[in-house]
Amino acid sequence: MDLSFTPAEEEFRDEARTWLAENVPAEPLASMDTPDGFEEHRAWEHILFDAGWAVVSWPERYGGREASLVEWLIFEEEYWASGAPGRVSSNGVSLLAPTIFDFGTPEQQDRFLRPMARGDEIWAQGWSEPDAGSDLAGIKTKAQRDGEHFVIEGQKTWCSRGAFADWFFCLVRTDPDSERHAGLSYLLVPADTEGLEARAIGRLDGEPGFAELFFDGARVHERYLLGGEGEGWAVAMATTGSERGLNLRAPGRFMAAAERLVGLYEELADSGSPDLDRRDQVVSAWMEAQAYRWQTYATEARLRGGAPIGSEASFMKVLWSELDVELHATALRLLGRDGERADSSWMDGYVFALSGPIYAGTNEIQRNIISERVLGLPRR
């Protein structure tokens, strides 16, 4: 056990910090869930990619720099501490790319990874359906074989970024007689496919943060099938693993938010506003972010030792999502009568955070996983 960073790690950190200090936009970009903001964020992805920071842990041929997991965690710490913009490409990079690395053909890898990394093609997830939210095995959207094509009929919903995305990664039922987990396939669908309509759904704050997808005879070529036909569940579960695991929400994001919260408290305390009683909540939020940091580095060591990132990922999902809500709620409470104002980054952050305990498997499901798969309690 040596918890100091190696000279190489420190150097990597310095390089990232220096580049970010020089390149992060001085003014915040518009919300990525508006048409203009989406394109502003895409342009920022180009800049990151061209400088080699978009996907640091990826192979060089796809635009990465083959950074270690520790380096990736360091990059995330520096990235969020610098106040850099949110990552509009994260659905693709975090959720789909690991699946393409594991299950994609060489052709698929060459076709998709680089444009995804550069933000040329921005992806949204098409898994949930109106009657299949957390219960994905209840998927009804059908994709029927027609020669080299699949013809899709059905409806998807809660597709984050779906209003403006270029591509969708979807889970569909290719065997019409199948039930539950069997007979699903994993299809990649261009947004401009005929017979596919994406309709924006207003998020809590009114912005079109999601879309519903309506498939009415949309034809997709079989080269866009990821993994085997009918094996979509297994393929998807690999992605779910990374959705809940190390790839989705690195500690750096919350460490940065916690530092901002400490700063907010300091600022308000200097102006005489807040009460000492609330300091404890600020410290608690800061502590949770630190705890998440050390737990993540400890997990990195386990993974490096060959252990899988399995159900333990549920610990991380519950922690970061509930921390994120508490942290922003604390900020709003500190703001007192200004806490209800819509025009604050803390309110934006709070609204965003509230989705955390719901998506990617509700936290109730995560706690089931912890108790059944980690602790081994009886399922029924």
């Binding site: 949930s128 009657d131 209840g138 759904i201 998020r203 409470r333 209800e340 104002r341 509700t362």
Partner: protein, 326 residues
């Protein structure tokens, strides 16, 4: 010691509940979110007709001579319907404060206000007054109460997360009222507590209804013990905040010596109740509750705003600590 309401009080509550059920459905609340005023076309008039708007004024001024114990049930109903009208500012705070002050300013404004022809606003000095632009006279409560006629005042607007709550910084020529600012503040905080209870109750009811019919993994979501216990916890908070809020109303009406302490008790409990109800409602709804199109967020955001307004839970706990001498 008798917590029961009179038949008249219950009938008044039911009449207001019926009115709001018919005339203040979510579409009407949404219209107030989108329009210029943050208010509805006809609800204030309908409430004036029923006598609600001026109920807290003495009968000599055209009111119903009612007090906070009569009003508290109506404030709960207002919360339950997410009513975007100034029942708190005008009826719970403005009218009794003007009546208390008496003199020229009451002469000038009270009868009009009771009749619903003039609207009273209220806010904290240095803070915000909700709906000042649609008020005629705004009371700014601080170390003293300053009454600012809106005509000629300068208003700076800020957006609330609840779009029907138009927040204004108000500045202008003011008359200092001969009325107790601590009492006026407690009227506002007590009324906000009652509204929080109503908002929380709606959030709970709507969620119970949703989870009973929404299926996941082959069972109603509401049959899962985790969901049940979330909702039981929200129900617990409401069950204990409601009597405290009603007791606070009585403390104001009866000039109880512990009024400020027990108003703080009510507001702290009610703020916590509505905060938990909002979190629980969203979590138990899942993604649908996270959308703008679905109505749940109208109450969630009203709850967030009311929870923070007129002192949030921590502020009121501090005031209780001071009252306890610690």
């Amino acid at each position: 010691m008798d917590f029961s309401f009179s038949d008249d009080q219950i009938m008044f509550q039911e009449a207001v509940r019926d009115l709001l059920a018919n005339e203040c459905p979510p579409e009407v609340v949404r219209s107030a979110w989108e329009n210029d005023t943050g208010r509805t076309d006809s609800l204030w008039g309908a409430l004036a007709e029923m006598g609600v708007v001026g109920m807290t004024a003495p009968e000599s001024a055209g009111g119903l001579g009612m007090d906070e114990t009569d009003l508290v049930l109506l404030l709960e109903e207002a919360g339950r319907a997410a009513l975007p009208e100034p029942l708190l500012e005008h009826t719970a705070v403005g009218i009794p404060t003007l009546a208390e002050a008496g003199g020229a300013i009451a002469e000038a404004w009270l009868e009009q206000a009771v009749a619903g022809e003039a609207t009273l606003g209220a806010g904290t000095d240095g803070g915000y007054a909700v709906g000042a632009a649609t008020s005629d006279l705004v009371l700014l409560i601080g170390d003293e109460i300053r009454a600012v006629p809106v005509a000629g005042a300068s208003l700076v607007e800020h957006q609330s997360v609840d779009w029907s709550r138009r927040l204004f910084e108000v500045d202008g020529e003011a008359a200092v009222l001969d009325a107790d600012p601590a009492l006026a503040f407690d009227r506002a905080a007590g009324a906000a507590a009652a509204q929080c209870v109503g908002v929380a109750q709606h959030l709970l009811d709507a969620t119970v209804e949703y989870v009973a019919q929404r299926y996941q993994f082959g069972k109603p979501v509401g049959s899962y013990q985790a969901v049940k216990h979330h909702l039981a916890n929200a129900a617990l908070k409401i069950e204990f905040a409601r009597p405290a809020a009603r007791h606070a109303a009585w403390c104001i009406a009866a000039s109880d010596p512990y009024r400020s302490r027990d108003v703080s008790l009510a507001k702290a409990l009610a703020s916590d109740a509505v905060d938990l109800a909002a979190r629980t409602a969203l979590q138990c709804h899942g993604a649908i509750g996270y959308t703008f199109e679905y109505d749940l967020h109208l109450w969630m955001k009203r709850g967030w705003a009311l929870s923070a307004a007129w002192g949030d839970a921590a502020w009121h706990r501090n005031r209780i600590a001071a009252a306890l001498g610690i």
